[in-house]
Structures are given as C-alpha cells and as structure tokens.
C-alpha cells in the first residue's frame, strides 16, 4: 500500500502556493452553458475547507463549506457543502489536477451541479468557479476570470488581452447570469409549450417576466422574443437578490 510506502517519508510540505499547473482535458463551456447546466448558482464565502477520506479510505476529497450570501439560481439555504476532489490528510497529499482549490475566506460565485445523494460539485471541474478579487485600480471588487459569453448570432474568436473583456463587478456579473437564467426559463417554457401534452400557455413566460419585477409591480406584456427578454432583464441589477425556494433542491440537500 502506498500509505505504507510513504509512511516513512519526512512530513509533507504543502504544494507551492503560487502557480502550480493543473492537468485535465475538458469540454469547454461558456457562461450561458454553465448557467443552463447549474442546479444552483451561489455567491458566498468559504468558511471551512476540510479534507477527508472518500469511498472507504480509497482516496481523498475535500469538503468546502460555503456561507451563502445570495443565489442567482436555485437555493440550497444559508450554508452549502461542496465536494471537490483531492486534498491533504496528514502526510498524504492527493492532487486532482484541474480541480479547484479553496481557502477559508475566499469569496466566490459557484455554478454547482447536483447528483444526489452526493454533495454538490462545481460544474466543469473549475470552469464553474468565479472568484471575487480586489481591483487595485478602483479599490472595488471584481469577478475573475471575466466571463466568456457567446453571441446569439455570430461566432466570436476569443482573444487574450481584449480591452473590451474586463472583469465585471459582482453586480454586473449577477445581472448577466440572471439574464441568462431568465431567458433559459423562457426558452424552456416555450419548448414545453410546443408539446400538446404539456402546453401551459404563457405561464412560464409570465413567471420569467414577473421574476424580473421582485418589487411586485404589475408585469407588462410578455415579451415575444428571447432578445426582448434579454433587453427587459437589464434592469435586474437594481433589484434585490431573488431567493427562490426550490423544494426539490432543498430536499436534496436534506438528503445529505
């Protein structure tokens, strides 16, 4: 057994703090795909990081406890436990290249998947991690990396250093994500509406539209196109964070 093999090794030091490379082949996702796939999108702060044996001491995983500040999609409650591969236990360090690493105090927006009864996980290994960092130029907080968002109508080549792609503020980022989520709800509703068996005329559309008006003001006409929805949703940044109790997700969480 490996543990026996390295038991005599001098105590482990941690991996170098800055810049160790990662190592995984992924199918890439843009922000829209991440938002669509996520069961929950949560903004919060890491309050604890605890490595533990997984699968009957066959490997190491890390449990990250996140204090949720708000949700951009779904709801897992005020505290979320997340499972990430790898970790350090005593003298053993298991590295899953490509897996995100967290530290207490990290402020993040996480796009999470769920596969009950397991704990939620970060989508796309580390693609679903957006970190809030201080912008020395302004003193404010920005989201990094700057998200990549596909155009609805044209192919866009991704260029490094593009001055137009800047790190957004949390508010800008949240607005963008909510826009995608709302549009996705509309799209899903339309697709369901095409099915004669499940046709619920305009209900989902209206829900999506109403969701943009958490102040309870009367809803205007239901937008006729996704593009219109997107335009309408631009006012979301001014609205308070929408907490949507999600019974199914909550049940999953309790199952843990």
């Amino acid at each position: 057994m490996l543990r026996t093999m390295i038991a005599g090794v001098v105590g482990l030091a941690s991996l170098a703090a800055a810049g160790a490379a990662r190592a995984t082949v992924v199918v890439p996702a843009d922000l829209t795909e991440l938002a669509r796939a996520a069961h929950v999108i949560v903004h919060g702060r890491v309050v604890s990081v605890q490595a533990q044996w997984a699968d009957g001491r066959r490997g190491v995983e890390t449990i990250v406890r996140l204090q949720a500040s708000d949700y951009l999609k779904g709801d897992f409650g005020s505290e979320v436990l997340i499972r990430v591969p790898g970790g350090e236990l005593g003298r053993y360090r298991s590295v899953m290249p490509g897996a995100p690493t967290f530290r207490e105090g990290d402020e993040v927006v996480l796009f999470l998947g769920a596969s009950p009864p397991s704990l939620p996980y970060v989508l796309g290994l580390s693609q679903g991690v957006f970190r809030l960092v201080r912008n020395p130029a302004t003193g404010g907080t920005v989201v990094t990396p700057p998200p990549l968002v596909a155009s609805a109508t044209r192919v866009v080549r991704v260029q490094r250093g593009d001055p137009l792609r800047r790190r957004p503020t949390l508010e800008q980022f949240a607005r963008q994500v909510r826009l995608i989520v709302a549009a996705e709800r509309v799209r899903g509703t339309r697709e369901r509406g095409k099915s004669p068996e499940k046709r619920v005329p305009d209900k989902g559309l209206q829900d999506a539209h109403d969701a943009k008006r958490p102040d309870g003001s009367p809803a205007e006409r239901v937008p006729g196109t996704q593009l219109q929805d997107a335009r309408d949703a631009k006012g979301l940044d001014k609205a308070p964070v929408k907490r949507v109790p999600d019974k199914r997700q909550q049940d999953r969480r309790q199952d843990r």
Binding site: L2, A16, A18, G19, A20, Y92, A150, R157
Partner: protein, 345 residues
C-alpha cells in the same frame, strides 16, 4: 515559489498560422491570439523547491480490465501503450513506461498502483479525462499517478465521427503523468448561440479538447517535447540552449501571472513563460540561440484554477504588449534582462 519553465517551441507546418498571426499583431499592435508554453509542477519543502517528477524509470502502470464508452480493455491498453511509446520517442528527453497488466482496481484509488481506466464520475461533468497524483512533497517524487477516462462520453480509437479520440486524450493525460502541466498554445472561439470550441492548438497539453472526431492531438508538438525534455533532459540539451529573463511591469509595479511569449521569426519558434511573483519576474529557458520578439499577455480567457494553484493574485487586467526590441539569446547562456511594460485595459 513555483517555477515555470518553458523551453523552445518550434512550429512545423501548422505553426505557420501562428507565426503569421503573431507577426501581424506585432505590426499592428492589436490584440493577439493566445500562445502559451507548457508548465511543470514544483513542490516546496521548507526553503527548498523541488520539481515534481518521477525519479525512477520505467513507470510501471496497470490498465483496468473493463470495457466502457465503446472501448474494450484491449483497445484501451493499445491506446495507452501507443501514447507512452509516443512520449518515449521524444528525442530530447528520456522517459520510459512499462505495462504491468490488467487490473480490476479503479483509477483514483490510492493503492500504490498507477492505474489507467474508465470510470463513471457524474461529478466530473465536462471532463474527458483527468490525472491524479500522490506525491512525496519532500522530494517532489511522484509515487503514484492514476488516470481516469470519463465513461459518460462516447469514445473511439479510430477517429470515428462524433466520438472523442481516446489516443489524443491518453497522450495528454500521460503527459501529466510524467509531470507536465498545461500549455495554452491554443485558440478558442465562442459559437453563435452558446458554447465554446477549440479552433487551433499547437500543444498536446492544451487543456481544452478538440471536438469529437478530431485526431490531430495524437502527436506531441515541439512545445510538448520541450516540456518533457525540461523535466527529463537528454544529456547535452541544456548546453545547447539559452535563456531570457526579465520583468513585466505596469506603472512600475510587477505583474503576477502574466504570460510572456518569445517568438523567433526566423525559425518559427514560440516559447512561453509566466511571471511568477509580485515583482513580475519571469524566465524563459531552453531557447534555441537566436533573436526573439517578446510579447506579454493576460490569461484572461481561461479558468485560472486550471493554470494556477493560487489564482487570487493573478493579474489579468492589462493589454497585450511587446518589448520594444528584439532580444538576442546566446548558446548556453542568458540574454540581458528585459522589462516589458503593460497598461491597464
């Protein structure tokens, strides 16, 4: 401190496009396509920094005895064997691996056996394959490395349309097994209506997979070969090459995590390195003697966790910039230190 080492990358036929792009950008001063060389791991033990690598060869490995994803155990073993042979064929490096046998064990079990095989891991969505290390962080020695391939995806060993090419992914992951990190010599685009895809890559170690059916990542590029020879050099390689070092600064302050690319217009060589501290210091090693154009760029198009163990201090808020003159690299030595000045976006 983690050290990144990025030796010479020569571009063969496919590199012409990159060369042309880089030259065009250099002339115009506009934004450039991404270009990055490989990285290697290091571990810190007290004040010492050790490179993460195998200390003993051949690396002995097992292959799982189960079929999955449309691939039989024998086909899997064949793809793995070809990938190891490909790495062993890199003339500037010395590595070797030995197939021990099939096993019912799973990859990612910390059992002392380096095991490669398919697994079902719903939590690793969008991950085609991944490598896991157990390491002796005192010496940097890799003592076990497992590789998993995601059975949720359709696979092929013959380049079948609509299926991911197993040999390409095995080659990437076995590169990791030997200790290579990611390269970013690749370019992506966002599809109309959603989604992102690779449109070009000049490194097997580029972390984003080509679309299904593409087999072009079965052969190491010069960047990959340089990375491997950095870890496991053939005798005499070091004396045949040179180094560029310097700083990337913005408003007089160092920039952490900037990517610096050295480009030799005469040979088509592309070499990359990162600034590795708050002072913005970088070193690009294993350069063929010659004159190089230097460019600094932010890694603002990637999930930073894929490249940096601690991404919190990595700066991506600057524009592409070029050093104002060509840098001459001598054989077996270093060029005078340079400074590349960048500005905010």
């Amino acid at each position: 401190m983690t050290v990144f080492t990025q030796p010479v990358t020569r571009l063969p036929r496919r590199g012409v496009r990159w060369l042309a792009c880089l030259l065009a950008v250099a002339m115009s001063g506009g934004a450039a396509p991404p270009a990055m060389a490989y990285q290697t791991y290091t571990v810190r033990s007290g004040t010492r920094v050790e490179m993460l690598k195998w200390h003993h060869f051949p690396v002995r490995y097992f292959v799982t005895d189960r079929a999955a994803g449309g691939i039989s155990a024998n086909d899997l073993q064949g793809a793995v064997s070809r990938a190891f042979n490909t790495w062993q064929g890199v003339s500037t490096a010395r590595v070797s691996a030995e197939f021990v046998g099939f096993t019912p064990a799973d990859p990612f079990d910390d059992d002392g056996m380096s095991t490669l095989g398919f697994l079902s891991r719903p939590d690793l969505d969008r991950v085609l394959g991944a490598t896991d290390y157990l390491i002796n962080t005192t010496t940097g020695e890799i003592v076990e490395s497992d590789i998993f391939f995601n059975s949720a995806f359709p696979w092929s060993v013959s380049g079948e349309s609509g299926r991911f090419d197993l040999e390409s992914i095995v080659l990437h992951e076995t590169g990791h097994l030997f200790g290579l990190g990611h390269s970013a010599i690749g370019e992506t685009e966002l599809r109309a209506g959603g989604g992102r895809t690779v449109i070009a890559a000049e490194a097997v170690m580029f972390p984003i997979a080509f679309p299904a059916g593409n087999t072009s990542a079965r052969t190491p590029r010069p960047d990959d070969e340089a990375g491997l020879s950095s870890l496991y050099p053939r005798e005499g390689v070091t004396a045949e090459t040179g180094t560029i070092s310097g700083r990337v600064t913005r408003d007089g302050q160092g920039v952490l995590g900037a990517h610096v690319v050295a480009f030799d217009p005469e040979t088509g060589a592309l070499v990359g390195g990162f600034t590795v501290n708050a002072q913005g210091d970088f070193t690009i090693a294993r350069l063929e003697p010659g004159s190089y154009l230097l460019r600094a760029e932010p890694v603002d198009d990637a999930d930073l966790d894929s490249f940096f163990d601690d991404a919190r201090g990595v700066d991506v808020d600057f524009r592409v910039a070029y050093h104002d003159r060509m840098v001459s690299v001598p054989k077996g030595g270093g060029a005078p230190a340079v400074e590349i000045k960048v500005v905010r976006k």
